[in-house]
């Protein structure tokens, strides 16, 4: 199985979120970057498991400048065979999806896996856009994936139910919790990653469709009101009369 895993660089989950230039730019000062959790924990690891079970190649792809190379090395250390970097800023989801679709069209992948959502822009958009642009079927979220020949059996947990679906490759899926367990790279993987190839591809001409004008921080909380644990009637009363939520 020839699998393309799309990864995104995102600020570490504990990063302080602040902005500069009149709140128009994310403040990268002191921010550590990681591979987006669902890309790494679920998409990449499940791809590696499939390869270990049935052979094949796992390629990772990301759209970014040379400063994303450290997170590419991290994904290579976990076990991806090779990496592709489309040499451009990630301008918006459509731009990213179109770059990946252009690349995928020149190769013969059986499966393209993205994480189901990034923790920075929370868009959940790239997988579906790639699928449309290359004309493949798309399933999200994908919480379990088994592959038998060219047939994927997928469990998709949606509000209120779990759908069991079957679809032939080629296919785009977006990986979510349950697909795999996170792996920590070992010394051998880290050493091997240093010499694995990162193919740099120049971007195709694509116009972005949206732009961020300005950021703001959500309003701060007023402070907590402590309630006597023996007096839950009081809490219920406050939720009814003061907060007006019940």
């Amino acid at each position: 199985m020839n699998i393309l895993v799309c990864i995104s660089q995102v600020p570490d989950t504990t990063s302080k979120i602040a902005f500069t230039d009149g709140n128009t730019k994310f403040d990268t000062n002191g921010v550590q970057y990681i591979v987006n959790p669902s890309d790494e924990w679920y998409a990449l690891v499940r791809a590696l498991e499939l390869k270990e079970g049935g052979g094949g190649i796992v390629t990772i792809i990301t759209v970014g400048n040379a400063d994303v190379d450290p997170v590419i090395r991290k994904a290579l250390a976990i076990g991806a065979d090779d990496a592709v970097r489309i040499n451009s800023d990630a301008k918006d989801s459509y731009y990213v999806a179109a770059q990946i679709a252009e690349y995928a069209k020149t190769k013969s992948f059986d499966l393209i896996i993205t994480g189901n959502q990034t923790i920075d822009f929370n868009n959940a958009e790239v997988g579906g856009m790639i699928a449309e642009l290359i004309g493949w079927d798309y399933i999200t979220p994908c919480n379990k994936l088994e592959v038998n020949g060219n047939v994927c059996k997928i469990e998709s947990e949606v509000a209120g139910s779990t759908r069991v679906l079957e679809a032939p490759t080629p296919l785009v899926i977006s990986a979510a919790k349950g697909m795999a367990e996170a792996r920590i790279p070992n010394m051998r993987g880290i050493m091997a990653a240093r010499t694995k190839p990162i193919t740099v591809v120049e971007p195709a001409a694509v116009s972005p469709q949206v732009k961020i004008n300005v950021f703001e921080l959500p309003p701060a909380k007023a402070g907590v009101k402590m309630i006597d644990p023996e007096n839950m009637d009081e809490l219920v009363k406050l939720l009814h009369t003061e907060a007006k939520v019940i």
Partner: protein, 323 residues
Amino acid sequence: MSVLVFVEAANGKIKKAGFEGVTYAKNTADQLSNSVTAIVFGNADAAEVSSLGEYGATKVLHAKGDVFNNLDAGAFTSAVAAAVEKENADVIIFPFDNSGKAIAPRLSAKLKAGLVSGALSYPTTSGGFKVKKNVFSGKAIAEVEITTAKKIIAFTPNSVGAHKASGSASVEDFAPSVNASKIKLLEVKKQEGDIPLPEAELVVSAGRGMKGPENWAPVEELAKVLGAATACSRPVADAHWRPHHEHVGQTGIAIRPNLYIAIGISGAIQHLAGVNQSKVIVVINNDAEAPFFKAADYGVLGDAFQIVPKLVEAVKKFKASQN
């Protein structure tokens, strides 16, 4: 021109996000002096479908066809695209739920229509078409401008609410030609609990402080008496104490209910990222230093095993007094 809104129905009823979607579409259409057409998928009785008129739709297309039975995003995308053409729609509204996440990005790529996912409020349309959305898992908000002629918005459920307008809708069946799907739906397993978490107004959530899955009965009972959905922290889902779909936070789902009750959850930054948009937060924890208290509106310091049953009784008493 019109604003088209994607609406889902199941078991004869329009889903809650459907009414909210029509409300969202109505506000947008009013700004642009357009009308609202709803495209409804799934099985809903006639009265239910035409009730979308009360929320501001003037026309309803009820999509029919076996091709939708396999829940293939591609088939829905083709059908919505056909409706966009038929209705000459330039703005398309989806809920940012599982269906919206599967279909809106495909449609965006198909129509070359810029998409904003996770909108928190209505767009503003003078001086550029702008929408506010969550970024960094609720730790910030971004104003995003859509620069294409056609525009798609996926709104966060429970962000604007469903509001009745006056009016009525004409209803017609809609059977666009859509290619047969290669995706087969083999089975749908129903999950426990009747209230889907992403759209719930009230949520009762518990963490590792509950010590084990066998101790969830009081949490579930509290949810039941309140009419709330249940949620949990990540380690609880990781340990399979609770199903994955209950996992909220930065790497689970982000929710914004009116009330979030956190029981035995420490309030780690990654957890808060998924729930800090809740209107009111109640924290029950036996550690005064738990970071969650800083993000809470109401706090109860003490043992959850003592407090939750008392809260259940208090809610029951309150509910009885309301009848």
